[in-house]
Subunit: 139 residues, 3 copies
């Protein structure tokens, strides 16, 4: 069994920016030559998250509306008052959505549904350079 | 160390259908003969999720009420307008709840609490045939 | 490759109690001598959860406000009426937030951001003795 750790670096727009990273992850898995195992996707930082959904423009809009409904961006949070960086909502959304996702793979393919894409959710209120760890265990 | 990948197939009712899959998962773990490691539960698709809760009728009702409150099923979403399949709410609930759960096991037993069951949350608005991957790494 | 399973035991206050467990987890990883792999944090029970956020007093307050908004503690839930233990809200918050988190590590260090702490969220309405499994796979 092997452990392989790679990373994806990308620049995001903020508030929020929902980016399909399925292709990059699949390429990393293909390059690893691993056939069976699991792949962990983990975003470093406290204002971004990882999720999966059907990546199409209307669903992207619906997801943004949902995050806005649960944690409005125009409300003031205690974190903002103290730190003056106005991204309290970004932290809250990230904590709720979560930073890690583990996907099994078989025959060298991620076990994702046809309409199930892996999405980086950038919740920060400004562009960021993100580091996403792609960690595989398998053979 | 071994990697073992199995799957659970089951037919669900929709909107939502919360199904206790703890027994099936425990059976798969027992059959594997693995004693120490971790077990990944992953549901394929973008309108279902995996969670854990105390699986009893009142909690099931409370969970359904919670999902309905956070993402109402009688509201129209952008995804619905474009695709005409009226399951925008299903996608949103699934993306928020998440498709993967990893549970450690010791002495051949999942480290779950007595009142902690693994639940497949079918959020789609119609019956579905679901494929749940149960992926074990251990010895 | 090695599998190492340890646990953290701690006493919590309830409703809610958000506890930074990053230091304890890092100590367990350091003692394992593992350099590359992944670390699973799993809380046993159905009224607590694991998340990550920037652990500072204002964010703690914001997180508590968010949980209160999504699942109010002063509302009566079906679970409460039947069981009389009044912690229906605790179960619901835990199910939504999730009990497991997997973090990759490299060079013996968890791949966490500077402002990203691992937090045990005790949602129960009374003090509890908690068992958190820290399960490492690596070399």
């Amino acid at each position: 069994m092997k452990i392989i750790t790679k990373e994806i670096r990308l620049s995001t727009q903020g508030n929020p920016d929902l980016i399909n990273i399925t292709g990059k992850i699949s390429d990393i898995l293909a390059a690893s030559k691993l056939k069976q195992g699991n792949l962990l996707v983990f975003v470093v930082g406290s204002t971004a998250a990882i999720t999966t959904f059907e990546y199409e423009p209307d669903m992207i809009r619906d997801m943004k509306d949902l995050y806005e409904k649960i944690v409005p961006s125009d409300k003031s949070y205690a974190h903002d008052e103290t730190w003056g960086d106005a991204n309290g909502f970004s932290h809250l959304r990230a904590a709720l959505q979560g930073q890690s996702l583990t996907i099994p793979f078989e025959k060298g393919q991620l076990c994702l549904g046809t309409w199930q894409q892996v999405v980086l959710a950038e919740f920060d209120n400004r562009p960021r350079d993100r580091r996403i760890i792609v960690h595989m265990l398998g053979e």
